[in-house]
Symmetry: C2
Subunit: 411 residues, 2 copies
């Protein structure tokens, strides 16, 4: 039998699992303290829902579950791969949330402030930092168009990141409507917007000339490209500049208000910047999009945005919605690499006993549990050697039953 995990998934050792639990609980507590409420949905969704969910490239990464019995035999006979499965594992928590909201609308408050901390599955090509089973920590506000929702999500996500010791991060903000209006002003074809932004996003790396060359290579409308390059070469892609060019002044004003208020709440503890090149892959975003960039990790550690039409696909009427998701695995990776330790953990001791003294030892263990985490262990033959092992395993001390009342703590 195979002893390794299936490709792209992990076993977590006890000390890793303890830290994962601690971090998830800290995030959960920050979310809950702000009135968000955790909900829970199944990891399995119908294939129909997954396929229609506008998840962008993620739709190619769905793990499908095989039909069973007669249904499977029929599907095999049909010769069609698509017939083999009618369910799959969720690739994110947004689609299940929308289905959940549609399913439970009558029993939920409006607006509903939801937390989801759970596993999702993607058949990614395994590589460093890309897992096939991973945890996301999402908050969403459903049922409100107010831009205050965006601010609350940004503030709450940032507070959660601060609570677990993340430092040096910046929230990047953009707005799909404003972006569209900006690019439209130059005369670009809306079909090219994503591709243009992917190139613009490389400005830091390849410079103005590099961006110009790549845009030319991609052969978008020449006149539009020239006008855009003039702006880029001017070195100013600030919100003010973008707002000047874009016709959609309402979106521009909204983004400005969101950033200004969120900055005041941030109080210098983290950055908030406008970034015209921020896209986010999912097709379902309709307005604000945001992403948290860690300067240490050089990459996104959280992302989200407004998706006002996705719930409507379930219930026929549009329900405004906005969400922010922390990519838990990246955070976990960063903190572990930094040697993360759980603050104020209760000391853990071993109580060694001789087999025939189990009952009396159990009673002493119960007394000691008022102050310690106590693991009862049969006294090994070579206690001295064993002490090194338990210290490695994270124990803080030990007591041999019958040799006193208080444990000896390791130096």
């Amino acid at each position: 039998m195979k002893i390794t995990t299936v490709k792209g998934t992990n076993d977590y050792l006890p000390e890793e699992a303890l830290i994962r639990d601690y971090l998830q609980n800290q995030i959960l507590e920050v979310y809950r303290s702000r009135g968000f409420m955790r909900i829970s949905t199944p990891a399995i969704e119908s294939a129909e829902n997954l396929d229609k969910s506008e998840g962008g490239e993620n739709l190619n990464l769905i793990f499908k579950i095989l039909k069973r019995g007669d249904k499977l035999a029929e599907a095999m006979a049909s010769g069609s791969e698509a017939e083999l499965s009618d369910m799959g594992l969720r690739y994110d928590l947004t689609l299940p949330l929308c289905r959940y909201y549609a399913n439970n609308k009558a029993k939920l408050m409006s607006p509903a402030k939801c937390i989801q901390i759970d596993k999702v599955y993607r058949a990614e090509r395994p590589q460093k930092g890309r897992l096939r089973e991973f945890v996301q920590c999402d908050i969403d506000i459903l049922g409100s168009e107010s831009e205050n929702c965006e601010i609350e999500l940004m503030d709450t996500t940032a507070q959660a990141l601060l609570a677990i010791g993340m430092k040096d991060f910046t929230i990047k903000v953009n707005d799909r409507k404003l972006l569209k209006s900006f690019l439209t002003a130059f005369g670009f074809d809306p079909a090219h917007f994503d591709s243009i932004c992917i190139t613009m996003d490389k400005l830091d790396k390849i410079g103005v000339d590099g961006v110009a060359a790549e845009l030319k290579e991609k052969a978008f409308d020449e006149a539009a490209t020239e006008k855009l390059m003039a702006v880029i070469a001017g070195g100013d892609l600030s919100l003010e500049k973008v707002s000047e060019i874009a016709e959609d002044k309402e979106s521009a004003a909204r983004v400005a208000r969101i950033i200004e208020t969120a900055k005041t709440l941030a109080d210098g503890k983290y950055g908030i910047v406008y970034d015209i090149t921020l896209i986010r892959g999912q097709g379902y975003y309709t307005g604000t999009v945001f992403e948290v960039e860690s300067h240490e990790f050089r990459g996104a550690i959280a992302g989200g945005g407004r998706y006002d039409h996705l719930i409507g696909k379930f219930i026929g009427e549009s329900v405004p919605a906005v969400g922010f998701s922390i990519g838990f695995e990246r955070i976990f990776g960063i903190l572990m690499a930094q040697g993360f330790k759980i603050p104020n953990a209760k000391a853990k001791i071993a109580l060694f006993y001789d087999s025939d003294k189990f009952l009396d030892a159990a009673r002493q263990a119960e007394v000691l549990r008022a102050n310690y985490t106590v693991s009862m262990l049969e006294r090994p033959k070579k206690l001295g050697k064993f002490l090194g092992r338990i210290q490695e395993a994270g124990f803080d001390g030990y007591l041999v039953f019958g040799e006193g009342e208080e444990p000896k703590l390791f130096a």
Copy 2:
């Protein structure tokens, strides 16, 4: 798009999810206080491991994951259903634990005291109380043959059940070796042991005559059946009686010691009984088996046993192991039906604000969070009506921004 969950799975409302988290955390805390350490394994395992895992009837209930791309095309071309999948969702936490131990042996303490609280998947025929996605709470001790492990697991499981308010339960204990020796003494064919026990287990319901009739109907060895019926008719299936008949006095003595010591630790807070008819379905059990029966629920709420050979299938050498698993969904069902309330929860209030006062309200919310869980909500047009809704949703009070410092709590 479909708004309901896939068959046999549940959405949990915020108040349900809160209680599920609370209960799981209480169980986890009891486990951890006794030195067990949580580990985490993927929900997906290789088909090979799942198929060879001796899971009894559960093997028929595995959700299989479809291959992808070229591999799927090849499998379709082969025309063989078995070729379509090489992974599946775990049906319990014991098989993944054994693979985990084999995979991480060098990094684990011996004995390893492990906790798993996680979701498992079974393609059960949907019916009341049978879910296709459900949570199990397992503790296991790997690497020790000592019967003290059994006692520690019984005590720890019972303490966890008591911590979440479960009352009126009894731990039933049996031992596969003792049972085998008992039935062998009458001359039964070992192949019939399971079937005999299933009938004996009905003694309460169908009486001595009923059991006699069913055993006769099943047409086991006639002389053996007669001798067994004489014992059953005698009305004494106690451990003492069984031990008298069985040749395996060592197992009899072990069971007696386990029960006696566990009873002393139980101190009358829950029952512990020997039950010759207790089988447990899994083929991998080798010695002690146990099950917790809730008198309120009239059914098993936890179960486990010793499985000394399962890990050996991975690493070639036998590693003694014993585990106890709480069936979380049954417990959750019982407690919810009893109107369970989380003790000592922090009061949750709504802070209503006018949209343009968001920033100042956010600052007041932060101050209030020292004492309350505070959810910021835009002031609705009809506040009076809305107050009823938030009370229903579990809020304990509210404050309108600008109308004072302290929230008004609902009566």
